[in-house]
Symmetry: C2
Subunit: 211 residues, 2 copies
């Protein structure tokens, strides 16, 4: 077992990537893996893999490696707290509907509770799977006492600026923020940045160096 070092933000950031690789191997029937092999696959170092996993408790076997099942369970727990994260979609325009499709068809670990918009033409319509689009003003009522785990913001920046404090006030602590508004909130010392469509790192990296 171990020291349970608190995980730093860089470590936390890497978890989803570990999760994708491990889910894949699990699906393909792989049963165990060493830190060095996983590192090679992911383009990192064995040291980093071991350090990372050890932040959450030693779940490898010395001399043997890591059991895929165990790894998957652990990271699945860390990311999704077992079960699914109650999620609300805010904004059902083009981007909102695309994310909706991804959320319901491909993403795992999320359960869509409700969808909201402020456009009267949208309100009352249903998204595939019989999810009704509610009026954003009825947010609390529709959630009915349940505080969502995650809010997916697919609304213009101005709207997000107004809405965000309300969502945070409701106790929502997880966001997928596509609003172009820098919603940064501190939870237990972790400030999390937002990802914006169009902040193309690869393009940036290349161009800047080439200057």
């Amino acid at each position: 077992m171990s020291t349970q070092n608190k995980a730093s933000l860089p470590v936390i950031r890497r978890l989803p990537k570990y999760y994708r690789y491990i889910s894949d191997m699990k699906k393909n029937g792989v049963t165990k893996i060493s830190s060095s092999e996983l590192a090679r696959m992911m383009g990192t170092t064995a040291s980093q893999v071991r350090q990372d996993f050890n932040c959450f408790g030693g779940f490898g076997q010395q001399g043997i490696g890591y059991q895929i099942d165990v790894l998957w369970e652990e990271i699945n727990h860390l990311l999704f707290h077992d079960g699914k994260l109650n999620t609300i979609l805010i904004g059902t325009g083009r981007l909102g509907r695309a994310i909706f499709g991804y959320l319901t068809a491909e993403a795992r670990g999320y359960h869509l509770m409700a969808a909201f918009d402020c456009n009267p033409d949208e309100i009352g319509k249903k998204l595939p799977g019989d999810i009704p689009i509610s009026d954003i003003r009825d947010l609390s009522a529709v959630c009915g006492g349940v505080v969502p785990d995650v809010a997916v913001l697919c609304i213009p920046r101005q709207s997000a600026m107004q809405l965000a404090p309300k969502l945070v006030g409701m106790g929502i602590k997880g966001f997928w923020n596509f609003s172009h508004y820098d919603l940064s909130v501190d939870y237990e010392g972790i400030t999390v940045e937002n990802v914006h469509l169009g902040d193309s790192l690869m393009t940036l990296g290349y161009r800047v160096r080439n200057d």
Copy 2:
């Protein structure tokens, strides 16, 4: 002027955020700003702002601050090399169409050259603005000798795995990668990671700490 230190990846990553804040101020008629005020707005430190800007040459005025116009020009140049980045969209499903909307209506600095899909039902249709959807197999022909600056991948992972090497082979160096495939390429020493929908940092940060 200055030492022209090479910019590190963390610095490069921050550029789009600077760009958003500065574009905003420019739009609002603000003409100058100090590193400390910009830092306060962005939630960082004055030191970091000055260090960052100095990687690209000293474009502030001692005793005065930074001219918004100058800052904007410099960062716009770094990010978009003046003019627009020739961009191709690959995959015109739900997500592809959403990104298309964003790309043409909201994002600036990108020029959509062409759109591709592999679905015969999609090929031949037109996206708003009279952009035809071409067969992905005709990629080179449609681009006609022009190497796109950026490819936006809105296709399943399996397809991306097959297509990516071809795109890199064509000389494409910029990607917005929504494919769930870790396309990592090294350019001049910079390895760039991919951003995946669903890698919800804020959710992660919160849950992991709370465990």
